[in-house]
Amino acid sequence: MKIANKSIKFLTVIAISLFTLHSYAFSTETNTNDQNDGGRVNTKEEVEAYILHHIKDSHDFSLFSYTGDDGQRHHFGFPLPVILWTSEGLVTFMSSEFHHNDDGHVIVEKDGLKFAKIHSKIYELEEGAATVSFDETHHATNAHKVLDLSITKSVVGILVIGLLLLLWFSNLAKQYKTKQIPTGFARVLEPLVIYVRDEIARPNIGEKHYRRFSGYLLTVFFFIWTLNLVGLTPLGFNVTGQLGVTACLAFFTLVIYLTSGTKGYWMHMVWMPGVPVLIRPILAIIELAGAFLIKPFALLVRLFANISAGHIVVMSLIAIMFILKESIGTIGATGLSLVLSFFITLIEVLVAFLQAYIFTMLSALFIGMAVDDYEHH
């Protein structure tokens, strides 16, 4: 009991210190934004651009940046590999070769091909072009997109968290071979695993089949929850707020409940027994649309929108301290922003759990519908 208490306290301290760092990392960034290049830049626009940049995935892992006394922009972070499948095969280089440029002015030459990064997308320049030229709507005219397989920031997040989960849970599983009660951090994980199994998998899937799917449900639950929490730290991950990631998770659930559907499930979907024959085709259309489109769409949009909205709200509240600085004074703006962002961050910690819970719960519910043997009528 004492050990468990200690590790919970330790985790809480770590979490709180990380959340405070978050606002610190942000403030160093935006503080310098309004004195960019000597000229006055609209703070509101800068904040908006910063938030939008944070929400998107990026090719390098930047922790923070500032403008030094020499007028140069200093970036802290590390580069990530860029892997491209171009017209001439595989091309790889480090993202540092773009020098943090995002509007296509820095051209990287590799294997006789030229690349430019425009708004976080990598373009391959056409034959003979030396610089990217834009039309009035700011679309590149002499460059085209390439298949981008880069290890981006989100991919790093997924790999690191995946590895961490593998270590934690294989450690937990190993401990049952030698002792009755796990020790250390595994003791924190055990009740969570039992919670997911007994409160989510078992009641929604049913006593008969829940064992088959609890592996998937546990993986998805801990993956989403850990990534949501990591997203609240100053590392600036927004992995579960990427449409691609949530779409992939929803696709896994879709494949699982479609492939494990029983005969009764499909019969109830395409030719519902017990209703007038004329209504059956209409019901079939609704049910098929529900199973193939609406259910996975609801899963992917909910997670993506909740996490992205949460990040936007937290960062907007932190940005209050720069936007309201002139109207209510530095101390007033900082205090207001500190109080608001502190409490909204606490709510976000709850949302991080709730979204993982809801995703797992709905997946379990959909799987439960599919494996039900429909014998009761």
Binding site: P203, F297, A298, L299, V301, R302, A305, N306, L354, Y357, I358, M361, L362, L365
Partner: protein, 62 residues
């Protein structure tokens, strides 16, 4: 402009819906405290479905 009004209407509708769900769940729990767990689960699922609808509409109307 119109899409902003639409987004506002969506939020109002979702708010009314969530209020109904929460209020009825409270009533249910007050009447039958022993069914709290079941009521809460059902409440969260329906609230999640409503939320998905609201977010979907917000995205389409953005």
């Amino acid at each position: 402009m119109y899409n902003l009004i639409g987004a506002g209407l969506i939020v109002i509708g979702a708010g009314i819906g969530l209020g109904q769900i929460g209020g009825k769940a409270m009533e249910g729990i007050a009447r039958q405290p022993e069914a709290t767990g079941k009521i809460q689960t059902a409440m969260i699922i329906i609230a999640a479905l409503l939320e998905g609808l609201a977010f979907g509409a917000l995205f389409l109307g953005k």
